[in-house]
Amino acid sequence: MKARVHITLKNGVLDPQGRAIAHALTGLGFAGVGDVRQGKFIELDLAETDRSKAKASVEAMCAKLLANTVIENYAIDLVD
């Protein structure tokens, strides 16, 4: 089973990289781009076959290492 983890900055946390991307897109002529927020995508190969156990395990990984919950949110998708 694979787990796909999306890590995004919480609302209210300044994202200077996202802002630079927005400026660059505007500079390239892509009109209509408002706020840009940059995040991370992490894909994990798991030995676990039980979905609920896998979810609990990846939750713990996110809380302990993959995300810094002071500034980041995470969302987990499990894929068979």
Binding site: P16, N68, V70, I71
Partner: protein, 229 residues
């Protein structure tokens, strides 16, 4: 007094801080490799600057879970002094020993120059060599030094006197232009609640010799050694 400097793959200021500390202590600190879960009995543990683990995932995130850090957490909770400089500050926040987090600099560039620094509190074993309100010139060298915490946390830090240093102009005033990285409330360094842990982005170890252009870092090392001897 005995001190230890923890070395991670990617640390690069461990010799600078060992020399600055050794010059005041009269003997060299112990150098401890990050895989060592046993740290000698010391009065001070320093987590030096650099790019531990190549800044992978987030600055300091991987180092924060190394065997040496687990031991440092225990020591810090027991009241032993812990000093984190630059990447060391990032590691201590990731480990949860200090509040907040260091984000990418607001200007997005690596900033490497001397900055003005205002001593906010002289009431600690780290800052007793300074006077509150004193301004210093100390170099910074970082890409991710933009201190962030939510407003409630920032208010609490101010209320409890946990802000050690702020970025300032030469005359000591706080100004946006004098804030090199966009840090919240110009914060450059913070204590934990019991003030036995200090993290700061600037490098006092690189301001201890006239050759380095400033000796304003010296009182930090002298003050610590006096307090812990």
């Amino acid at each position: 007094m005995q001190a230890a400097v923890v070395v991670f793959p990617g640390s690069n200021r461990e010799q600078d801080v060992a020399k600055a500390l050794g010059a005041v202590m009269g003997h060299a600190p112990h150098m401890v490799w990050h895989r060592d879960s046993e740290i000698p009995k010391v009065d001070l543990i320093v987590v030096p600057g650099g790019f531990s683990y190549g800044d992978y995932l987030r600055c300091g995130a991987i180092a924060a879970h190394s065997p040496a850090m687990r031991e440092i957490m225990e020591r810090a909770k027991a009241g032993i002094a812990v000093l984190g400089i630059c990447n060391g500050f990032q590691i201590l926040t990731e480990a949860g020993l200090l509040p907040g987090v260091l984000l990418r600099n607001a200007c997005l560039t690596f900033v490497c120059r001397n900055v003005g620094l205002k001593v906010e509190s002289s009431q600690s074993l780290f800052t007793n060599g300074y006077a509150a309100g004193q301004t210093l010139s100390i170099p910074v060298a970082h890409h991710d030094g933009n201190y962030f915490a939510d407003d409630a946390t920032l208010d609490r830090l101010e209320e409890k006197g946990q802000i050690a240093f702020r970025y300032c102009a030469g005359d000591g005033t706080l100004a946006e232009e004098a804030n090199p990285n966009g840090s919240a409330r110009s914060i450059a360094g913070v204590f934990n609640e019991t003030k036995n842990v200090l993290g700061l982005m600037p490098h006092p170890e690189n301001a201890v010799l006239p050759l380095q252009g400033s000796v304003d870092g010296q009182p930090l090392f002298r003050g610590m050694v006096e307090a812990l001897s």
